[in-house]
């Protein structure tokens, strides 16, 4: 309200002032495209770096989860001698699995190391119509 009643508001100086500020604004508009282009480029690089880091972290987590768990000997799983000498069913199953493995390995017909297939008759005969090798 006060501004509208102020006679200086429409004076030549004030009008000049607005004209000056408009010129400055124009200058600012002319410079702005150059100054705003640089942050945009650095932002995209930063985004890509962050994405790469996130993917790396995800890959590490996934690979750690995928890795087979090391077999641990469960001390608490077997019953204590004070309670009973009977092996737990899991222990018996393991023993039977071992037995099956041993039996499979003992097959008399399976021979994984037969005598080497070599030629015992190799020699270099005198030249003749029927070569001696």
């Amino acid at each position: 309200m006060n501004n509208t009643n102020n006679p200086d508001w429409f004076s030549e100086e004030s009008l000049m002032g607005t004209e000056m500020s408009e010129a400055q604004e124009q200058e600012e508009f002319a410079v702005k495209p150059e100054t705003t282009a640089i942050p945009k480029k650095s932002n995209s690089k930063k985004l890509l770096l962050v994405a790469a880091l996130v993917v790396t972290v995800l890959l590490i987590i996934t690979s750690v989860l995928i890795q087979p768990k090391k077999k641990t000997v469960s001390v608490g799983a077997t019953p204590t001698p004070e309670v009973s000498n009977i092996p737990a069913p899991e222990g018996i199953t393991k023993t039977v699995d071992e037995l099956e493995k041993d039996v499979k390995a003992s097959d008399p017909d399976a021979n994984n190391i037969p005598f080497p297939p070599i030629d015992f008759t190799l020699h270099l005969a005198s030249p003749s119509p029927t070569p001696g090798f």
């Binding site: 009977i86 099956e100 003992s106 008399p108 005598f115 080497p116 297939p117 030629d119 270099l124």
Partner: protein, 263 residues
Amino acid sequence: MFKKLSALFFAFVVFFSLGARFSYAQDTTTPITTQEAKYRGLLDDYRKAQDQFIVSAGQYYNLQTLAAQEDAVRALRSVMLTRDDVVIAYFDLLELEINTVPGIELSRKGQLTSQIDIQKDQLKSHRARVEITTDRINLNLEASGFSQLEAQLEATSDRSLSLLKIAGIQAALDQLVLTKSQLDSFVASAPISETVRGEKQRGLDEMGRSVESIKLVISKALTRYDESLRSISNPGFSEVRSILNPGFATLTQAVQFAREIIQ
């Protein structure tokens, strides 16, 4: 900068995955697998050397020149050296198996390994002679000497395989005895009805009979093995295998019984 980081990232991923695989592969290496790989590699070398000799000898027979003869002699020496290496590596592998596998009596083990050592010494001497031989006539003499070793080498191999097969059945029998002992305790004290306990007990009785029959099979196989030591011409591996086959069938059935008992 971005390109460097990308390269670093991919290098890291590749290294990580390869490193994990390599660590798993390392766990499976044993002296036997290493020796087996060495033996297989030498066998491949022998096959290549043999092919090369066949080509060189063919050229010599066709051309009948001194140069062709030199080539053929070199190829023959090469294949003869590789052949000795193959058989030595094979006996190293057998010796390693015999010394590693459980279930072989020490006296039999010692007797067989000393026989293998004698064969290996013969092969090493033969190899040393071949290495310094350069003419066709002497090389042919060495080739003839090697062919005379064939029967002895195969007999030693057959005896080793026989003993390894007997040891395999013995190891399985030992495991069966251990399994039966655990099953006896389990059935005796398991919270089950008397009918079910009776069924399981009958299964255990069958397993007990299996143990006795396998012991007989092993005893027969060992008798045949001991006989084979006195005869080079009949090492008896096929006979030992035939004797062991019913024992193997009984063991397979015993595994089935054990599985039914723990159900």
